[in-house]
Point group: D3
Chain length 279, copies 6
């Protein structure tokens, strides 16, 4: 190993930075701590009493300040931490409603405990509701580290800037993408693979609303793609699987896509070339 390599890599590594980044592990630790504070299902340490929890809360606040300090001066970090913890009971309120919505919405769920323990949709909502508080407090980058953590664990990618109402039901959720300026009402159910995206036309201005609005009580089936900041899915509507929508639909609508399917009996030596593939 030539010493020169270390020299070059070190120079480049620290070209634009004097400080070290907080390790990602610490940000993940923070999220796990908050979950443990909120629900006994995420138990890792042993919090036996109000006093224990009080000390644990203080510890977690210190960890948060340490993390935030990477992105802002110390005093500001303390202020943000205070804001966050003053919102924590509200987060718990919201998450209780989400858990209930998932439990009601999925016939396979056998208990609220199962929802909290096993549902990636619930986990993703936990992280989203935490990240959203930091987004609203105008913290840069950190809420995105949080949402990317949820993405890693669940395959669900909810931008912390999205505005999402109460009682959201996401079940498997793999592949869901919800963009930064999306607005989602109450009682909405979203299946896996759904994209709420921006049309390229909108992209010139980062500050306009670029992603769609989903009003109350809608259901969006799997792999539906809904695009555009002016696109509004009216309340009580249903969007079918694989639908591609770039226009608004009125309330109480149902939109679906009936695909054209052909069926043959397999004969030797007759495989249609373009259908069968390997990866």
């Amino acid at each position: 190993m030539k010493y020169e390599l270390a020299n070059n890599l070190f120079r480049r590594k620290h070209a634009n930075r004097n400080r070290f980044f907080v390790s990602k592990k610490k940000t993940h630790q923070f999220l796990q701590d908050i979950l443990e504070i909120l629900y006994p299902h995420f138990n890792q340490n042993f919090i036996q009493s109000e006093d224990d929890l009080y000390i644990y809360l203080n510890k977690t606040e210190l960890l948060l300040i340490q993390i935030l300090h990477d992105f802002m001066p110390h005093e500001e970090a303390k202020q943000i931490a205070v804001t966050f913890f003053s919102n924590l009971e509200f987060v718990r309120d919201q998450l209780d409603l989400d858990a209930e919505a998932i439990f009601v919405g999925d016939p396979a769920a056998t208990s609220i405990d199962e929802v909290i323990l096993c549902y990636p949709g619930f986990f993703a909502m936990c992280i989203y509701r935490i990240a959203n508080i930091f987004y609203k407090a105008q913290v840069k980058t950190l809420p995105r580290i949080f949402s990317e953590y949820a993405h890693e664990v669940t395959g669900i990618d909810i931008h912390p800037g999205a505005q999402i109402g109460e009682r959201i039901c996401i079940d498997h959720g793999t592949g869901i993408v919800i963009g930064e300026t999306s607005i989602i009402g109450k009682n909405v159910k979203i299946y896996q693979g759904v994209t709420l995206g921006a049309l390229s036309l909108d992209k010139c201005d980062q500050n306009t609303k670029r992603h769609p609005t989903i009003e109350d009580n809608c259901v969006i089936y799997s792999n539906a793609t809904i695009l555009g900041g002016k696109t509004i899915i009216g309340e009580n509507s249903i969007v079918g699987g694989n639908v591609w929508l770039t226009k608004s639909i009125p309330k109480n609508s149902i939109v679906y896509h009936k695909s054209d399917i052909k069926m043959d009996i397999i004969k030797p030596d007759s495989e249609p070339e373009e259908l069968f593939y390997e990866i």
Copy 2:
């Protein structure tokens, strides 16, 4: 930090629960232990002899009893553990066949070792076959924690209640969802993004068969969606990519979906508004 916050959160956290949940880490540890017991590729400790393995098996049994004890009385937990370990050789038999099926089914695979080490499909089948034993023993919630672990790691979501035959070939698998009452025969190959789901009509009764049946030797290409408890894909059939199926098809069928695609040459200032988007 106000003490009142700790007080409120503690009260709510333990509102419905006197006990602590076993940490998820322990359930994941159990799965990793079983994999290490089965294959040298999941080596984490150093098991050098039959005696070492015997002790390691006993340790893992204790861990399992500890985990199960969260959900049932101690004696029952011990009984379930005995049942599980008496099935462990059978699990190994099944997984050997799955590994072979993947190796044969994927031209890119260079050895069985590579399949065991690198294929998410194999990992998902490992966890499914373990979880399924607990499901059949009527353990609640835990098998779902197991299947959700596989989902996290691989993006493949196989409900532990599904009945799946021998020699299943899943390769990349991201986005696969296989519902609780699905029945899958032998020698079936399933590509990424495939959903075996329930029609809403079926949902009234949680105990009926709500998910489809795939008979022996079928191939289901990527992103195909097959729905309904009465839907049967007859043996030796092929379901093409993106196909949406809610009816049975006879054996030896081939079903596909030829999409209607348009092509233009790009001209300045002519981008079709609804096609291009950002997220």
Copy 3:
């Protein structure tokens, strides 16, 4: 627990192997070490000076030799390690360009730091560019363990054998599959769910080019499927979402798929049976 079980499992576990496999944890550790060596954003240890980095590089080289030694004799492992580290600055060059491409390509990105910290697409490219060096050095299996690690974390599956040019922009990326013999030019943008696969016809010969070629400056929208070793997407082309392509298209083309969508107003008792489902 019967001793006989340990005996049987041990015998089967080591039936074909005398040695132990390097634990996956070590291979993941190696990847994390390399990332920490390259960018301060992946900070886990405390590397304060060129000297620290030099020692850290040497440690990482030893870890690599230990890992490689599972697959080849010791001397050969040392040679491969030398090759790898001599390519490390080149990897850093390439990744800087990728980060820049993502930053430019995504209006939501607020800084290069955010891209490096949060974008799964960037992470997947890091692992791909590392794995590709080992693939080119004809190391078996290991590059696949690496790519599977990226798959686990990001849901993006890039085969280490793919040939990928500079300035690749992948953002969310969940579900992307890029096959072994794919060739991708410069400045290409790929959305989530895209598959670059092989037609079954090609599979007879593992050594032929089985996956498509994407030329410079193309954009491939989400869930597009492009198949076949002879399929070439000409430069500057755009492939729309959900498009299924098995033929080449000339440069400057735009291909899209306008789906046929129906809309109704929801009426009581009128749900179309095949549209709504549960999983």
Copy 4:
């Protein structure tokens, strides 16, 4: 680093041994586990109920079998483990009496809790009473690893073969050495630096009694040295500090050593050469 060095060292390292030794850490872990099982003061894990303790006992038994297996066949190890655990309540009985004796014997002790938490003498008795069971079961070497652990932590070296009665009071204890064939009655108090050793004359036969006997209710003050297998300190006797004894003394004796001390007033330039030193 020359490869030859590794070669030579490896060859020598394993010249006489095919197997690996159990790590000392495991033997220390076992001792800590037993202490945690016996007293809540050694709390490291969280044992919340009889069920938890039952599982923890089983785990500790497995660890013990694994450790013993280094020194004997598997079946024998299991038998010894059964013996040990059947003696565990007796050990607790004995230790309760020891703690009480220390509490009564030291005016500075404020509670039994303080004795258990802070007194090296109590810790040394814990390890001795555990090690003694294995010694009596004729396990080789392991009891000595245990006693050496106590020696490391406390500076007190009690050979596991010593026969020691109830209610032993050892306080600071640094430097105490109690030989293999020592016999100590009940209610004995031993200060720091005391040696119960063997005369060289006795050493020819390893199986004879080589170390002294201390009868009930004796007090041995600091740095006293008592030697010889036939030396008996009669009951209720007191041995003063720094006394060197190689003969028996009758019961109710008091033996002391009044040293000859000189005192001067320091004058300039008059330091007695042999008195003052540095190390």
Copy 5:
């Protein structure tokens, strides 16, 4: 393993206690944290700036509160913690003087850094000066856990209640015992094995001064024993090795003990029986 054993042990273990004790590991962690806060030589984490140290101080304060909470109500614990930290700069002042005294007092010491890094006497003084603050704040048991930690590491046993002046020089120190009501002046040097103890006569009343007073500028050579609450070693005095003192001596005294030694030439078959021994 019989379940009954777990039952009995659990019942006895928790007979007198409802709560769990804080683990000793946490108390040791606290001491290590304080040392790291005071001197860079005890570096374990990476404290890079005043801000980092501020957060680290807060963390350590929380740990302290958690530990104290085992022994007192929460509010009181917080108050003690405030007191402790307000004394921390004073502790640093004192320790700087101790380090200097050791450096000056030991010709073998090559730098203050070496003293801080390697001298058990310095380590023991660190822990004593920390423990003494808690003793003065009337915390029970905890200061003794602290002093016992120093005893474990160094073999030096200084009761937290002793009153010890500035610039104390302890070097090797193994076996030193300094009792609870000892008073030691400034500039005192104490060699290994020295005991400052209580005469049995004094023990009736735990609250009287039972241990000796050592005035300024004294030197106490190794294994000297000084006993009694009324015993005063006048300033500038020297106490020789192995001296046993139970009376006061005036200032500027020198006390020593010239032992009576015999020398022979070894002849075959003539070993004096009582001299040679084995342990």
Copy 6:
């Protein structure tokens, strides 16, 4: 917690130092690594072959360079590391002889394995022989950190500068102190509490020989104190327990100290005031 405290402590902490010290844990790790490299009894990792050991040696060399780098420039550190490892086989030779000497010298030892696993004297010799190489290479401070580690674990304090011959037998060893310029021949046996120190007269010049010389085949019984750089214990001599020697003795001498002991029968109300004490 006032921020000012952090500020003051940080300023003082780093007043004289720009860099961080290597953590003591790393130096202890290095010693444990070397012991594991030398003997299978110190097994912590799993070194299965010459290749494994080769990699492990390289890792340990890197750790050593990292540690040394705290005290010297990088190039010099590398040079010292090379020197150390070229002496490693010699260290093993020496330690084998020491183990044998202890085995032969202690009738209680049942095997060489027991000596290596359990004897503090052997452990102390291991660390001394390692530290001595660094001392001879003129490394400052580090060898003293090493010897202090042995002191912590065993209570035996051998200065790394001492010159010690082959086949040294130390058994319990608690309290042994061997000064920097001591010279010890071959086949010497040293009991616990022995001091080889310097007379104060010698201290003016740090570079003169200040500590005694013990020639071949001597035995030094417990708590003997031998002082002075010109003091020579001639070969084959025996120094009895508690002897205080500041003059040379010829070869084949035997020196002992017969203490004057008084014995009474205990009578009520007659305790001699100065004899009985508490601590």
